[in-house]
């Protein structure tokens, strides 16, 4: 726990007077995939946006590699190797696929030549993009856009990857590709925090998970424990 790559302690945040997160603590280690589960409105996106620095925390602390980064803005956290792929993917629809990929390397301040190498590697890993580099990102299908978001993450090579509902609204074959990518990130040693409504799917890839309800963690455990938990089965997996 001391060497957790991402550690969130008693985090509180919200919008104006509306407090959404009421003290959330969690952690993700290197080479670990952690699922963040919960129904719509449980506070998953708020937690991820606060962790990424887009929303200011009202209380609590945030650590990256054991260093306190509480209150740092998103652009600084990105430079420290934390990447959030937000709901809606955070692409730039008016820009080309290629420029979107190049922006993935912005936080790393790569020289032009190295950036070109990283972009080429990402395009090779996600061949669906290779023939579409000069197209507007907004012209891609939903699945292709999600692949672009993942390919951009490939260029960014983050130490902590935070994915907000990456499989929502996608056709099954794309969902499959998303989870293959998540496994790759684990093998590469990144810390992956994965918010999902689709619990069954998320728990097949995750090592551990947290269940968020009304802005609080109500349950945590290994993927197997969560899958076996009667409360989870009843509430989320449609089991009896």
């Amino acid at each position: 726990m001391g060497d957790a790559r991402l550690k969130v302690v008693n985090l509180q945040a919200g919008y104006g007077k509306l407090q959404v997160l009421k003290g959330v603590s969690c952690h993700v280690g290197a080479g670990e995939v952690v699922a963040l589960l919960g129904a719509n409105g449980a506070g998953k996106s708020t937690l991820l946006r606060t962790v990424a620095g887009l929303l200011p925390a009202v209380g609590g602390r945030l650590f990256l590699d054991g260093n306190e980064v509480t209150g740092r803005p998103a652009e600084q956290l990105a430079a420290l190797g934390l990447l959030l792929v937000p709901e809606g993917r955070g692409l730039f629809p008016e820009m080309t696929v290629l420029d979107n990929l190049r922006l993935g390397g912005h936080a790393r301040r790569l020289p032009a030549r190295e950036l070109a190498v990283c972009v080429a590697a990402a395009a090779a890993r996600y061949p669906v993009l290779a023939g579409r580099l000069t197209e507007r990102a907004g012209n891609l299908s939903g699945g292709q856009q999600q692949m672009l978001a993942l390919a951009r993450a490939h260029v960014a090579a983050p130490r902590v990857l935070v994915l907000d509902e990456p499989s929502t609204g996608l056709a099954p074959q794309w969902v499959h590709d998303v989870f293959i990518a998540v496994r790759e990130w684990r093998e590469r040693g990144a810390a992956v925090l994965l918010a999902e409504q689709n619990m069954a799917q998320a728990l097949t890839v995750a090592d551990r998970g947290y269940v968020l309800e009304n802005g609080q963690i109500v349950l945590e455990g290994t993927a197997a424990e969560l899958l076996a938990s009667p409360a989870v089965r009843k509430a989320y997996l449609g089991g009896e």
């Binding site: 990424a52 620095g53 887009l54 803005p73 998103a74 652009e75 990105a78 430079a79 990447l83 959030l84 937000p86 955070g90 692409l91 730039f92 629809p93 008016e94 820009m95 420029d99 190049r102 922006l103 993935g104 912005h106 936080a107 790393r108 032009a112 960014a156």
Partner: protein, 286 residues
């Protein structure tokens, strides 16, 4: 009106319109990246023109150095303006920051009057002589030179936005500020770059305008208004539309001058008013 004169007015209109287009591009760069409607844009134009005239007539530099020098000076003023006036107000509402730019325009005007005096200053023409058109009208090389300079700016600007990391960061900030921050792009830095680039474009416009019309400390607001009118004519938020709007406005003015030059400025503003009434999104947008 003979064909010769029509061609003359058209080319002159394109030249002046190209200058308006530069001002409107500057408006766009700041508006799209920061949301701020910059009321000091015309003052950047004035600083560019007066600065170049001062470098040439006051300091004694050759014209070829003084003219780019004026644009660079304007760019510097743009950067300082952002750092001194707008960056400290980063957390305030957009309206507050827009009003700050009104204050900024007053300060810049007064500073220019103090530093450079209130008399108009001149720059030598870009080129002497002209081309005699059929019908006897003379098209001066000056207008063609301005047109060529403006035409060279557009692809350079397109290259900047497409092929440099700074240009891509500015585009990203314009498209989705939050998503840009997640890519590690610093909004305050991009805003400073936007003010610098925008003031550079405005300064170019001022430098190109001064040999045609001379420049004085108080001409900024009307020029800013012309650039703004160009942006509105084409459609706010669309750089290409602003260029088309600028060219249209320039041509409109020249042909109106042929009737009576008294109504030149009135016409520009009337065109904007009419357009806002019938096509509030601009000529080219949807």
């Amino acid at each position: 009106m003979t064909w010769g004169i029509a061609i003359l007015l058209l080319v002159k209109g394109l030249a002046v319109g190209g200058i308006y287009a530069l001002i409107s591009l500057g408006f766009n760069v700041i508006q799209r990246t920061t949301g701020i409607l910059n009321f000091a844009q015309g003052e950047f134009v004035m600083v560019g023109g007066l600065g170049a005239a001062w470098l040439w007539g006051g300091v004694g530099l050759p014209v070829a150095v003084a003219m780019p020098g004026g644009a660079v000076l304007a760019a510097g003023v743009g950067w300082v303006s952002y750092q001194a006036a707008l960056r400290p107000a980063g957390g305030t509402s957009l309206t507050t920051r827009i009003i700050i730019t009104i204050g900024l325009s007053i300060v810049l005007r007064a500073a220019a009057a103090l530093v450079w005096g209130t008399d108009p200053r001149q720059l030598p023409p870009l080129a002497e002589g002209g081309l005699t058109l059929p019908g006897g009208a003379v098209l001066d090389w000056q207008s063609l030179a301005v047109l060529a300079a403006v035409a060279a700016c557009m692809p350079a600007l397109a290259w900047f936005f497409r092929c440099t990391a700074t240009g891509r960061a500015m585009q990203a900030c314009a498209g989705d500020p939050d998503a840009a921050r997640l890519c590690g792009i610093r909004p305050d830095r991009v805003a400073a770059q936007a003010f610098t680039l925008s003031a550079f474009l405005a300064g170019m416009a001022g430098v190109l305008l001064t040999p045609m019309l001379s420049m004085s400390f108080d001409r900024g607001s009307m020029l800013g208004l012309k650039g703004f009118a160009a942006a509105i004519l084409g459609g706010v938020g669309h750089p290409v539309a602003g260029v088309v709007g600028g060219l249209a406005l320039g041509i409109l003015e020249q042909f109106a001058c042929w009737g009576s030059s008294v109504y030149k400025d009135t016409l520009a503003l009337a065109a904007v008013l009419v357009l806002l009434l019938i096509r509030p999104r601009g000529l080219l947008v949807r």
